[in-house]
């Protein structure tokens, strides 16, 4: 096997160790293990229901938005796409506060209703959980679908125009097959993300009825210190995610589009007033829905800029370094895995599927269990505080792998399909082939993947709670410390800095990937 294959297997092994291995470590340390009670079953039921509803709604709403973004060119489009990514990258508590500033009892909408003599909006409950999850994940769904749209070569749309196909024909012949291929994966990805949700579900769920499996794991760990039960619940969470992934894999039908010539995609089918209005409405609504809470975060953050705590910029620098490392690691892992998957699709297809699946393990894993397991493994070896930042970078790189793989594997496939034989016949191999062929063609996908990993690790607090170094705080830790000691204004200011840096990192990588990419 070629080195790239081994690198991929090593990456997969690492990911399995990180997700399943940590679980095993926790289970082994368990002293007792209470069985599941009715409360646990209720938690499982609630987790599945809310994740299904959230994922379905996110994906459905993303279709018109992604279509509008795919077929319209307007000033500020790039900026809008970047900004739409913001909710996904926000620290949970900041996003919740922003959301409530718009939809809460004292939020903008309720204030407007009050002015009309109407009672305030009540979002706490199942609808609140779904609202928040759609807020977080609609941008991601949009982005995944937009990638699907952009994978349809511009030549196809030209051909369609030539053939006099209407928007409806194009939807049926080009867009629906693409959606059929992309939607199940997007749905499954968001389902997985919603399954592991905890603080958001609880806060907006209005009570312990909104207990998710992750909260039950948290409870088993810190309330009962029942590691056996924590491991068992984590296994259930894996099961739920594996089930979702399996269903998505069975439902998805890969769409095959031939290669194009990298010409910018132009559309001729959507000049009708109705389609313009529909696209404008989709974009306006989603912008208001996603950007208003963001705007509220920004406004209260501006007010808090005067109160920024000492040490903020050191924390910011630390966070940026972690984010950069995480981005680099994410690409490394994703390329190793994706490369091996591609190699094995010829001949060892089943093994290729297994490898690809390993990239998704991290999202299904419980952050609490990963953190605890890593702690148990590393504590005897080194000072956990010294490892806090590397572990943050590594775990977040792993967490962003599903998105990295979703972006990279199709890109690599396209490269091989369009240029594989040509490169083979020219004798391009190894590093030269990567530099001259693979990298330039996958750079946009790689930039997206690295940017996501960087931004996610920027805002992360979950996994490293046990490792945290008292002196070396990161921005999110600083934010929580401020909130935990009444300093709300300073926390808002810090949140703004965090959001701007996260988005900046994402933008930088994402743009870097597309800059000078074949036009």
């Amino acid at each position: 096997m070629k080195p790239a294959g081994w690198a991929g297997i090593a990456a997969a092994g690492f990911l399995a160790a990180l997700s399943l291995g940590t679980l095993a470590v926790v289970a082994v340390r368990a002293e007792s293990g209470a069985g599941f009670g009715p409360a646990d079953l209720a938690a499982i039921r609630f987790t599945v229901t809310q994740a299904l509803a959230s994922a379905a709604l996110s994906v459905l709403l993303a279709v018109p938005v992604a279509r509008a973004l795919a077929r319209r060119r307007f000033a500020g489009r790039g900026l809008l796409i970047t900004l739409l990514g913001a909710p996904f990258l926000l620290p949970v508590i900041v996003a919740v506060l922003g959301l409530l500033a718009v939809f809460g009892r004292a939020g903008l909408v309720s204030s407007a209703l009050a002015a009309l003599g109407l009672p305030p909006l009540d979002i706490y409950g199942f609808r609140g959980v779904v609202l928040a999850h759609v807020f977080f994940n609609l941008p991601l769904a949009t982005r995944l679908l937009l990638q699907g749209w952009q994978a349809i070569p511009g030549e196809h749309f030209r051909l369609a125009a030539q053939l006099g196909m209407t928007s409806r024909d194009i939807a049926r012949r080009l867009e629906r097959p693409m959606l059929r291929a992309v939607l199940p994966g997007a749905f499954a990805t968001i389902f997985l993300l919603c399954v592991t949700s905890f603080a958001v579900a609880l806060t907006l769920g209005g009570g312990p009825g909104a207990t998710t499996v992750e909260l039950a794991i948290y409870q088993a760990f810190r309330f009962d210190f029942d590691l056996g039960k924590a491991a068992m619940l984590a296994l259930v969470q894996f099961g739920l995610c594996a089930g979702a992934a399996l269903v998505a894999w069975m439902v998805a039908v890969p769409a095959a589009f031939g290669g194009g010539l990298d010409r910018p995609v132009a559309r001729w089918d959507c000049h009708s007033l109705a389609s313009r209005l529909a696209d404008a409405a989709a974009l306006a609504l989603v912008s208001v829905f996603l950007l208003m809470p963001l705007l509220m975060v920004a406004l209260s953050g501006l007010g808090g800029l005067a109160d920024l705590p000492p040490g903020l910029w050191r924390a910011a620098l630390r966070s940026v370094l972690v984010a950069l490392a995480s981005g680099a690691l994410a690409i490394t892992l994703a390329l190793a895995l994706a490369g091996a998957v591609m190699r094995m699709e010829v001949g060892a297809a089943r093994f290729a599927g297994l490898l690809e699946a390993s990239g998704y393990l991290s999202v299904a894993a419980s952050p609490m269990v990963i953190g605890t397991g890593l702690f148990l493994v590393l504590f005897p070896l080194a000072d956990p505080a010294a490892l806090a930042l590397p572990v943050t970078a590594l775990v977040n790189a792993a967490m962003s792998l599903p998105f990295a793989l979703r972006a990279l594997i199709p890109a690599l496939r396209d490269v091989e399909r369009d240029y594989g034989r040509l490169a083979d016949s020219l004798g391009m191999s190894g590093a030269a082939r990567f530099r001259l062929l693979t990298w330039p063609r996958i750079r946009p996908a790689a930039g997206f993947a690295a940017g996501l990993a960087a931004a996610l690790s920027m805002g992360d607090l979950g996994v490293i709670a046990l490792f945290a170094d008292a002196d070396a705080v990161t921005l999110p830790l600083l934010l929580y410390r401020l909130m935990g000691s009444y300093q709300m204004a300073a926390a808002h200011g810090t949140a703004l800095v965090l959001v701007v840096l996260s988005l900046g990192m994402f933008w930088l990588f994402d743009r870097g990937g597309r800059f000078h990419a074949a036009a």
Binding site: R263, Y419, R421, S425, L426, L436
Partner: protein, 230 residues
């Protein structure tokens, strides 16, 4: 120089045999019905399709174990002969070094072959900015640089107009004359064969017939060829 010894290609529902050889500098047209296996024959020689039996020799050596890039072959596809993200000079330069670490001298050779195919001054263009004929000229220029003893064309000019196609074929003839390369050329059009290929093989019904002089073959076609020519 090219020897197909009891060569057998087998794919699902498809078989192709050939057992003949071709001398150095000879030009062979490959004609036959769609789906008959013309492109597959070239793909096998280029190393993209494994053999089920027999072997392929170039200058006596079995090239079976060689990777596509190491075979003494240049192959021009119908399309996708150029990398869309690399410019003309880079696409051409790949013919000298597949890692594109080119010296000044290499760059001069690139400029030289581009001039030879009539594309001076196009070095910095991307493939999307070229016409179909110009793109295939770049691919030809690269084949010229690679200077492999075997040049194979898988209908790269099929999409060009008659005059342009004739021009390109003449260019190919000149180049192979200069380099002494052996030419294998898939075509649908007997006129292409008459124009530059002294020999022709018919690929149909699972067999690539032994090359025969083109003029004689077309003047007195056997049944399978008659059916194809209509």
């Amino acid at each position: 120089m090219l020897q197909l010894d009891d060569m057998l290609i087998r794919q699902t529902g498809f078989e192709l045999r050939a057992n003949w050889s071709l001398g150095k500098g000879q030009r062979l047209a490959i004609i036959g019905p769609s789906g008959g296996g013309k492109s597959t024959l070239l793909a096998a020689i280029a190393g993209f399709v494994p053999l089920a039996g027999g072997c392929i020799r170039v200058d006596g050596q079995d090239i079976g174990p060689l990777d596509p890039g190491r075979r003494p072959v240049s192959l021009l596809f119908q399309d996708h002969n150029l990398f869309a993200h690399l410019d003309v000079a880079q696409n051409t330069g790949l013919g000298i070094r597949p890692d594109l670490r080119l010296t000044k001298g290499d760059l001069a050779r690139v400029a030289g072959v581009l001039a030879r195919v009539g594309l001076s001054g196009f070095e910095r263009r991307k493939p999307a900015e070229l016409s179909g004929g110009q793109r295939q000229r770049v691919a030809l220029a690269r084949a010229l640089l690679r200077d492999r003893p075997l040049l194979m064309l898988d209908e790269p000019f099929a999409a060009l107009g008659p005059a342009l196609k004739a021009e390109m074929l003449d260019l190919v003839a000149e180049i192979t004359t200069e380099t002494g390369a052996t030419l294998l050329m898939v075509t649908h059009d007997p006129k292409d064969a008459e124009r530059i290929a002294g020999l022709t093989t018919l690929v149909a019904d699972g067999l690539a017939t032994a090359p025969e002089p083109t003029a004689a073959l077309l003047a007195n076609p056997p049944a399978a060829l008659r059916q194809y020519l209509g």
